[in-house]
Symmetry: D2
Subunit: 357 residues, 4 copies
């Protein structure tokens, strides 16, 4: 031929080969050289490793029925071992976590069950997963009772969820997202807490005492942006999209208004099932996020179009094998989320004004 190979054709696809008893890590490593979402999932591990090796504050966003679907102890693991520094979650994921931490269970069902029969037995269905509505009602009451013990003042969702995790730990001693975050002092934000059963529990406390159950979600906006201002190098890992995806980006955008050092997240991973072409935020591309400054133009980023229940067990199992050193060495922020003000590396962050430099 004599013709020079195109600059585009540099790195060949390596067909995946079957190796008996291969570890998850080995499987994922070899998926880096295949195509499509398999390659993207493998790339997600590399980017996560780079996050851990950097000085970035790592945000994790969790949406979708991850806790009901069996993902809650993976998220707890990520918190305990500080694969992440700050969780932003839907209320449902925290509620279904609380349900199991309190010793209740979700059950294996099927999407073709008879919903009228389920309703008559007071069983709630989440696609192929079931739970007892009566147990859910008891959770709501348990939350309401806890809320009524709190001092009467507005709480950011972050402070409230810390105290909820503390109470849950003290009462149960069980692992879960809320209790792991309590123990590891990892802050949790829940911007849409009003759209969840945790919110319902808060409202039931209010029903009994009209001075109870005030959540200051606007304080959460300021506090989360101040986390970015304090340490302007940040990373985002999004599972499922939803309000957490935007809230993590909003923290960066809002921070940049007040501090020029902030320039968008430096790393981004999202595992989503929504398509970008309908315009919704959950499916929006990471390139689009760059136009807004949510992501740095130079950021390393990958979107994995996949159900989290397929992608996350493989991804985190593989990561666990290769990230021990990085976890030990990483320059992570130390939080104290126990008080009205969130403390980062010994210094409190305001929740009512942006921390201008």
């Amino acid at each position: 031929m004599g013709r020079r190979k195109s600059r585009f054709l540099r790195k060949a696809v390596e067909p995946f080969t079957i190796v008996a008893d291969a570890t998850a890590e080995n499987v994922l490593e070899r998926m880096e050289r295949i195509s499509f979402q398999g390659r993207n999932l493998a790339t997600a591990r590399r980017i996560w490793e780079k996050m851990l090796g950097s000085d970035a504050t790592i945000f994790l966003g969790t949406a979708g029925a991850l806790s009901a679907g069996g993902m809650r102890l993976i998220i707890a693991h990520l918190i305990e071992h500080r694969y992440i520094d700050c969780l932003v979650s839907t209320g449902a994921n925290l509620y279904h976590d609380l349900h199991e931490t309190r010793g209740r269970r979700h059950f294996i069902g099927s999407p073709t069950l008879d919903d009228a029969a389920l309703a008559s037995e007071r069983i709630d269905r989440v696609y192929d997963t079931l739970a007892s509505e009566d147990e859910f009602c008891k959770n709501d009451e348990w939350i309401a009772a806890f809320v009524l013990k709190l001092e009467r003042r507005p709480y950011t969702s972050r402070e409230f969820l810390y105290k909820l995790g503390e109470h849950l730990w003290n009462e149960t001693g069980n692992r879960g997202i809320l209790t792991a975050a309590y123990q590891a002092k990892v802050p949790i934000f829940c911007p849409a807490i009003a759209d969840s059963s945790i919110g319902m529990g808060l409202s039931q406390a209010r029903h009994r005492d009209q001075t109870a159950g005030y959540v200051d979600v606007i304080g959460d906006i300021i506090e989360s942006a101040n986390v970015v201002i304090r340490r302007p190098s940040t990373a985002t890992i999004v599972l499922g999209g939803g309000t957490p995806k935007n809230f993590i980006n909003q923290a960066s955008v809002q921070a940049e208004f007040y501090d020029d050092r902030v320039g968008g997240h430096k790393f981004a991973i999202q595992i989503v099932t929504d398509a970008p072409y309908y315009g919704g935020a959950s499916g929006s591309s990471l390139e689009e996020a760059q136009s807004w400054g949510k992501l740095s133009i130079e950021s390393e980023k990958v979107t994995v179009h996949c159900d989290v229940t397929v992608a996350l067990p493989l991804l985190v199992t593989a990561l666990e094998s290769t990230s021990r050193d990085a976890l030990h060495k990483r320059k992570r922020p130390e939080f104290d989320p126990s008080g009205r003000l969130l403390v980062v590396n010994g210094q409190p962050l305001a929740d009512n004004r942006y921390q201008e430099p």
Copy 2:
């Protein structure tokens, strides 16, 4: 043959035929006899008509970039003509509405534009749609300035958004979602207001005055449930899923705890692009909702798997032609959302306790 036709084979598919200059109504009418999502869209109109002919309070949930994408005057129309009674929205849809009501615009772009170039010109992209970030920043300031004029106390998102619509109307006199809701006295709930630029505006007010910008989203939970308790016959129309979808269902579930007459929505339409099989709430089926009691077992319901920007113009144009009488005759609730307490048909609803019968 002499053989009896199966009971399953009663109503034949009628192939759609092309008629020049046919109206949207005529097109949609004939789509009732085709299959798949076309039939579902046509069925949505029939169910909406039944809602209008019933005594149901009709909730509309709006998620996805509907306002940026050109749907905001359809939603305003639905409010003005009382195709719906209560709106539950993401903050983004209200914010992008406010942007245009204030005289700014969104622009036609393309998903393949260079995001680095857009970022350098401070242009934000939403898939194929663009807007000026500088104009967005001015909106935030405008919102903050408005917030600082308000009396210092917590506001439900419903009360806050009414006042925001009022201010917007007084300043601009322009049609839009917020201003239409103000004029038609249709309440708007925004449970995830903290995850939006309206929330950012509120936070900027707080930044200037730490006593400002308190939103009582837990009050919204109680108030929305009390709307259901007051009139237990309800209907839900969901565009895009997201927090509004669940919040509307939560209102019914929460109401049922306190009032046995509540038995789930009587009618349900959802136009969504998420698939049910990943377990997320946005894509969850209406059958699943029945297991939870969110929907009555006898409810009339349809899911349309389609982008709202395709489905809604056709659906509402057709509905407009056939619903005039029904709109005039309908037994709709009359709201007064102007005060701290939401007034329904002359009677205020509590925001701090559930209205037990």
Copy 3:
């Protein structure tokens, strides 16, 4: 402000407004200024109009259960009025068309019917649509009987389907895809005929007479490329993806090997529901097609991510109102598909060698 507006922000989104009794055309016209898939659908009409105003040979590809789903008379209309020049279809769409042209019906069902009950009554389900398996078996026999009347030699699918349409017309006098194509002398290719009930009918003829039922699908490849070579300006409209999508592109790519004037389709519309990011052909982007030369770099093109049963009734109804002149004036090819060789504008095309210029 005095600041110059960005070059990116030239054309504003115009919010869609509700107009009672608006025609489909008027609805679609105003959808050109909204966003997302609504805008894309509106753009599809403009591109189709440009196709009609050009000298392009227009290919239509049909996949998915369009005929069972009520789309067959739209496709027949497109053939009769020469909105298109050449159809490439899955076998299923032709088979379900034949079923109805023979006077049988598909029926309205539901996706939640009990499939065991349906099986016991010999009813076949296509999502929410039903048909009698016994009637299908009779179709197969009818096809086999027809095949046995044909001279024993291999037929391209194009020649075979012309004769099938002719026989169907003579026996029924009913409109449909096959009969419209027969009467309008529009060629139909079915490259995957072996994967369909038409193929099953052919095989049953073979079962009775082993010299019957030979389809020369390789001849189809050559003939379809020769259609492009004869008139190198081409356009593609794809509904649903599948084998027709690739076959239409393959015709262009193959033609270009033999004729430098061929440079990819000049116009492209696709209405698909598959996502591009899994790598499959049905969801592949039109940009990707440009890398292969399937589409000209300068082509006008649009992808509409939407179910065909929603998009097509609106699109073609609107097109019908605005394209009468263009249809009369268009420089379309005249085919005679009745013989072993396809005749274009009076000249036969080889089916066993590429027509080198």
Copy 4:
């Protein structure tokens, strides 16, 4: 409570836990107790194991860009170790396999590359994967040259592909799908061969010699049904949908016309990304397949909504660890696909009449 637990709430979801260095098998085993598509993927392994432990003839269908995307040696492995007995494939997967078996490569690219630049360098893009068009042209010529060496008569795709694999093996000695099938005597059907570059190669042979390149795809229909009639216990594994999915089902349906012992596949796994609600065959549910008799009402079945490049490496790696015994013991059919007639367990199957019992 004293209240009996509902019959629906028997088997709890077990949250997945992270274990360092866990094997793929161990990961997948624990995914059986989570939810959504993760559970479905884990279930797929159990069903595949049951297939291997039964007397079923196992069909594998492959569609989508699996070979270009790095899956071809997994498929070769499945053939070599007789995890499957018969392959039904799109032409593209066989063509891209041939490309690599001939020593050429696919390359790692990105979906955001400039397609005009790629076109100018004659590089073809498949989402994030690239290949040289010049190399593709040489493949086509290589195929044409091979076709011209064959005796001039129609070949079923099965016979043709066996001979193609044989030639490829003799020339290269390299592993791949075609060469593995040749060596393991596993038949391959390609019903849509006319819609692929293998078909293009055949057409180029015809161009040089008009007596060459006849593929008898109707013979494939009969032969594939006769495979089912010979051994009425069957199983189907579908990757990606497309023509292979239906062709495998069609073989069972067609067989049942002639042999009452055939009652639909006994086991079914499909890994697909298409949604069922648009009515297309690729996304159609396995329940729907039961209404047609494609699947037995008692069949064990699972759909995994996932990209094959994510699911297959994990699934087959895990299967490899647990299936050795089953593979050795399994009662598999022995094929000889080398001649005009396919031989099963020493007895030839007709290709021109159905094997009535």
